[in-house]
């Protein structure tokens, strides 16, 4: 679905953001792209909808080279939800905001009406249909931005730092939502530095450092590898931090889920001869 062939990218101000990146993302995959600020994560994903074109190498989305088509054409299939919803909201009502993308892509009015209703319901925004998006809270505005992208049903969904500013419950809802997308076999990419969130979702993780990919694999393996994490300046998830410190005890290393951790610890504690009550 997305193929990146050894791309290099330098910003006009001279910053080398990507230094030889290659990867393949298949249909229906759920991938988290992680790394420190400045590692190149957002730069990389901006190549997937044509906002950036590589200086060297090729990017193919759905078999089409990104340099050959416009951003608008690519966006029909690659829905990019930006970090700050306030960079996108401008309409008088939430309804119009969601219809914006649909109109740009030339959908018919009756289809637009249906899709808007669907998107409103999917993200629990039905009661705000006629509300001005500027009147909503931060979390609600984020949902409007997401709804406006989902409305045109792109094959690939990219979320740039979706967890910033969200509290615990909002992140839970987001996690449920992403799992829903996964179940519908929609290719989902999230760019994030929120290790806890990634640990709870357990996607494929692409770890970037200094314009290169330094790790690519299951979250459960990448996020428990202390060397790779130090190299990329990533704080390990809390659960794996615990197990990293139990290295001298016979405990498995690759644990990021709290319920797994509980099972394992219970096992270890019960095996001991004298237990506390």
């Amino acid at each position: 679905m997305i193929e990146v062939e050894d791309i290099y990218f330098t910003y006009p101000n001279g910053v080398e953001a990507l230094k030889g990146v290659s990867l393949t993302i298949r249909n229906g995959e759920f991938v988290a792209i992680m790394g420190q600020n400045g590692a190149g994560k957002t730069t990389l994903v901006k190549h997937f909808n044509g906002l950036l074109r590589p200086n060297k190498g090729k990017v193919l989305v759905d078999g089409v080279e990104t340099t050959k088509v416009s951003v608008a054409t690519l966006s029909r299939n690659v829905g990019f939800v930006f970090q700050n919803p306030d960079h996108q909201l401008f309409s008088e009502t939430v309804e119009q905001e969601i219809a914006f993308g649909l109109r740009n892509f030339g959908f018919k009015e009756n289809v637009i009406k249906r899709r808007v209703t669907w998107a409103l319901n999917l993200l629990g925004l039905a009661q705000y249909r006629k509300t001005s998006p500027f009147m909503l809270s931060g979390g609600e505005r984020k949902r409007v931005a997401l709804a406006s992208v989902l409305a045109w049903n792109p094959k690939i969904l990219i979320l740039d730092e979706p967890t910033i500013g969200q509290d615990y419950q909002q992140k839970e809802k987001l996690r449920q939502f992403i799992l829903q997308m996964k179940a519908q076999r929609k290719t989902t990419l999230i760019v994030t530095h929120d290790v806890e969130f990634v640990a709870e979702c357990n996607p494929r993780v692409l770890l970037m450092q200094d314009g290169k990919i330094v790790a690519d694999g299951e979250a459960i393996r990448v996020l428990t590898d202390p060397d790779v994490l130090t190299q990329a300046s990533i704080v390990p998830p809390q659960v794996s931090q615990i197990f990293l410190q139990l290295s001298d005890i016979e405990a498995p290393k690759n644990v990021i889920d709290i319920y797994e951790a509980r099972k394992i610890l219970l096992n270890i504690l019960e095996k001991r001869p004298n237990e506390r009550f």
Binding site: V71, F100, G101, N104
Partner: protein, 264 residues
């Protein structure tokens, strides 16, 4: 846009950069006055050439050339306008006099761009802000000035992000009729304006929280002090002004074509 490029400050260090901006500004104003005094081409050319050593001393040759190039278009318009008017006035004939006059007007403009460009290229915005403060411009204006400059790169980046975000929703900024294209900028302008308003609110909160508005008189971490170099520049400025006024009043200036004629 390259005209504006020539006005942007670069962090280079040269003796010109270290001069007190107030003196530099007085110098630029003096050049302005001298340029206005003379209508003849010769002194204006002298004025132009006289400032080139300053450009070289300040090490801003490349950016300065860029601003000169940017001004070239306007300069050409000024030349043509003046020439055409003179042309018609002289009865539809080309005279050396009308050519020279047009050239003189153009040179006046070029001299102004040259000196202002050097000023802005060698004066950092904080230096400027400080100069404003010390010349007793009310602090609110100085603050507005430096804060505006401080946020220029931030706003520029934000505008780019907003454009990217809306392009990713299918907005086409390069196609369509003229009217449609203007309408397509609404999804860019509104988030930009809303963001600016929100930003102002947050800034106001931060300002208040740092004791803005305390009744007493405001002090400053920095102070601009005059050095030897500044006094030298002040003397040079006075000298230029005095010489110019003297020449203008007492010495007749030949026109260029007369001068060339007598030499050949």
């Amino acid at each position: 846009m390259s005209v504006f490029d020539g006005l942007r400050f670069r962090k280079v260090y040269s003796p010109i950069h270290n001069l007190d901006p107030r003196i530099k500004f007085v110098y630029v104003c003096a050049i302005f006055v001298v340029a206005i005094i003379f209508w003849e081409l010769l002194p204006l050319m002298v004025l132009f050439v006289m400032q080139i050593p300053i450009v070289l001393l300040a090490g801003v040759k490349r950016q300065w050339l860029r601003s000169m190039r940017g001004a070239a278009f306007l300069a050409a318009i000024i030349f043509l306008t003046n020439f055409i008017v003179a042309f018609i006035g002289a009865g539809y004939t080309v005279t050396a006099k009308s050519l020279e006059n047009a050239a003189a007007m153009t040179m006046r403009f070029v001299v102004l761009v040259e000196s202002f460009s050097v000023f802005f290229l060698t004066t950092s915005p904080d230096h400027l802000g400080l100069a404003l403060e010390q010349t007793h411009v009310p602090y609110e204006f100085c603050f507005a000035f430096t804060t505006a400059v401080r946020f220029v790169p931030v706003l520029a980046e934000e505008a780019q992000t907003i454009m990217d975000a809306q392009k990713a929703r299918g907005l086409e900024l390069e196609r369509g009729s003229f009217l449609k294209r203007i309408r397509n900028y609404i999804p860019i302008l509104i988030p930009l304006i809303v963001s600016a308003i929100r930003r102002s609110l947050e800034l106001a909160e931060a300002m208040e929280s740092r004791a803005w508005g305390t009744a007493k008189k405001r002090t400053n971490l920095y102070v601009l002090r005059m050095h030897k170099g500044d006094l030298v520049l002040a003397a040079i400025t006075a000298g230029i002004l005095a010489t110019a006024i003297y020449i203008h009043l007492y010495i007749p200036i030949p026109s260029l074509h007369e001068l060339l004629g007598s030499l050949l």
